[in-house]
């Protein structure tokens, strides 16, 4: 038995595999919240992304290298459309962000549009022809320990690393990132120095939607290739918690996502090993852990200092001048 069959290695490798959609979803929500807009529609947008990319992947004939990017784009576009509804309602019409986000999840979620579209388009009967398979990056898959963990993931995982890096640079090293943070902290101040508040908010909410769309595609194109209604099973909500857990920083959010990836993969991994743990307990673990983590974070002094963007959840009303 090689080192790479070690339980520890397998758990870490699957933590990254199952954590990848959480990285995308949380990163998208982070961008939106940094601009001052909470979007509780993540779960709904993910499901929209999942269904649209699954439909393209299941029905389009062609080489995987062509079909998969198109599927991903379809998912991103659908989720972005959902985000745009939310953006219009809360930014232009100043509807309560919490209610509007919930409306988006109800509209698009497991009992709504995503399941409707899946039914109408006959998903679930035929599994996706094309899926994102594991990619042996640089041929390093068999390297002890780090091989399976870092170099035997899907293309989407590598993409998520790239995006987390870019987001770090964007937020903390570029002028636009600085402007974005200003919009989230104090839109009045930002506006007074000529930063287009509305445009920033629209932009980041919609880009956040695209990320949620990729997160949904992670499910329908890798994790659950045969469609099931509501296949994200609450991951969108866990992503919302991860943003808080990560103090609105992409790097910490990534760590949190893998922690939860490990928890959600535990029931498959342990069962495959024949280790007998009540599956109900393992299934409930990610949700219970989310609550525990949220309590720890909300109770610490740290969250006050590193805490949320000051203008989070508040519409910006420019007074007539």
């Amino acid at each position: 038995m090689s080192v790479n069959d070690n339980l520890f290695v397998i758990i870490l490798a699957s933590a990254i595999f199952y954590g990848t959609p959480l990285v995308f979803a949380a990163l998208g929500e982070l961008l939106s919240e940094r601009s001052g807009v909470i979007n509780l529609g993540v779960e709904g947008m993910m499901l929209l992304g999942a269904v649209c990319s699954a439909v393209v992947a299941a029905n389009l004939d062609g080489p995987a290298a062509l079909v998969l990017p198109l599927a991903l784009l379809a998912g991103m576009a659908a989720a972005a459309l959902g985000a745009a509804i939310h953006a219009f309602l809360v930014i232009t019409l100043r509807v309560n962000q919490i209610i509007s986000g919930l409306a988006l999840t109800i509209f698009a979620g497991a009992a709504g549009l995503s399941s409707y579209l899946a039914n109408v388009w006959g998903l679930g009967r035929n599994p996706s022809l094309n899926q994102f398979g594991r990619m042996d990056l640089f041929g390093l898959k068999d390297v002890p320990v780090v091989g399976p963990i870092l170099f035997d993931q899907t293309l989407l995982t590598y993409l998520s690393w790239l995006l987390v890096g870019l987001a770090m640079v964007y937020l903390f090293r570029t002028r636009m990132g600085l402007h974005l943070r200003a919009v989230g902290e104090s839109p009045q101040t930002a506006d007074s120095v000529g930063i287009p508040v509305t445009r920033y908010r629209y932009g980041h909410v919609i880009v956040g939607g695209m990320f949620a769309g990729i997160a949904g595609a992670c499910y329908s194109l890798t994790i659950v290739p045969t469609w099931a209604n509501g296949l994200t099973s609450g991951a969108g909500w866990i992503a919302l918690a991860l943003v808080i857990f990560g103090f609105w920083r992409p790097d910490l959010t990534l760590v949190g996502a893998y922690l939860f990836g490990a928890l959600s993969s535990l029931s498959f991994t342990l069962q495959a090993r024949g280790i007998d743990v009540p599956s109900a307990l393992l299934n409930a673990l990610p949700y219970l852990a989310t609550i525990v983590v949220l309590v720890l974070v909300s109770n610490s002094r740290l969250s006050r200092r590193l805490g949320s963007p000051a203008a989070l959840g508040r519409p910006y009303e420019r007074e007539e001048r």
Binding site: L102, L113, N119, V120, G194, I244, A280, I291
Partner: protein
Amino acid sequence: MSVASRLGVRLEPRVDVPRWMNWAVPIGSFLSALLVGSVVLLITSQNPISVYQRILERGFLDSGSLSNTLISATPLLFTGLCAAVAFRVGFFNIGGEGQFYVGAVFASGIALALGADAQSWIAIGAMILAGALGGALWAFIPGILRARFRTNEIITSLMLNYVAGIGATYLIFESDSFWRELSGTGAVFPKGKIIPLTAQWPSFDLGTLVVPFGLLLGVLVAVWLHVLQRRTRFGYEMRVVGGAPSTARYAGMRPARVVVAVAMLSGALAGLGGATDVGNFRHVLDPKGLQQSGFGYAGIVVAALARLNPLAVVFVAIILGGITNAGYALQGPDFPAGLVGTLEGLILFCTLGGEVLARYRIVLSRRRPEAMSA
């Protein structure tokens, strides 16, 4: 520069809302939702007119359909009240779903424990109390976490929905629990024990209309909540805490206590709904059925459409109950699952937008060039 970008759209608060708008805006929102819905239907090659016509027939007009609609409306009434009460004080309890399950677990548990020998009114009363208690305890968790640690109740209450679903599934499918039927076909196909006849709730015939006892209970509770909110000290505290938490603190109220109390009240309402589900309709703890129904989430739509007013919740629950009932009755290739949620979501979106139009005037204005960037 295009003309569109030079024209600014501004929202200006209305000084006074014209009377006709109180009627026109909800109706207009509803109609626009149907319009947008028909676009979705057309894109997915369904005929919107026949879909809407069938919803109207199977939800309200066909013989017996209204009785079925009242059955669908009953759980929505309770979960709608659950969300309405909590949202009023700014406690966004999304956990009505899980509190509903726990109420169903408690109510079926007590009904099974009392057995067939208990008098009917005792069994039903015990189920009502047990259901409310179960929901209240489940909602106590996000309530106390919010009050003590300022933990975001939206996420905690939602996470508990999944935990409750997994727990109820465990009771029936993964263990030999007290709730599970272990004899007969139950030994082969996991299912819950059916509660004794004496514990099953009555329904009343009013001419052709069958009114479930649970619905009457829900209407009574809605009226009680209305009085509670308008006429009592606690209701006043709820309004102050919801509107201005710091004012509440200066006035010597304890917002944390009010929040926990409201959380538990809200949970108790959803739990009552769960008791209704077992007592009046399913007569068994059915985790799969509960999770497929998603009454808790639909309750949020009900509450938002009713503008968090308990009496309006009754009305909205019956309307959405009709759509839900039509969804059950028509489910099939011509009426795919998910359509009901889609329509509900659209109605909610349009109502949210419509309310803004009621509160603000839309002013088109030419912008000065220096303001272009906004």
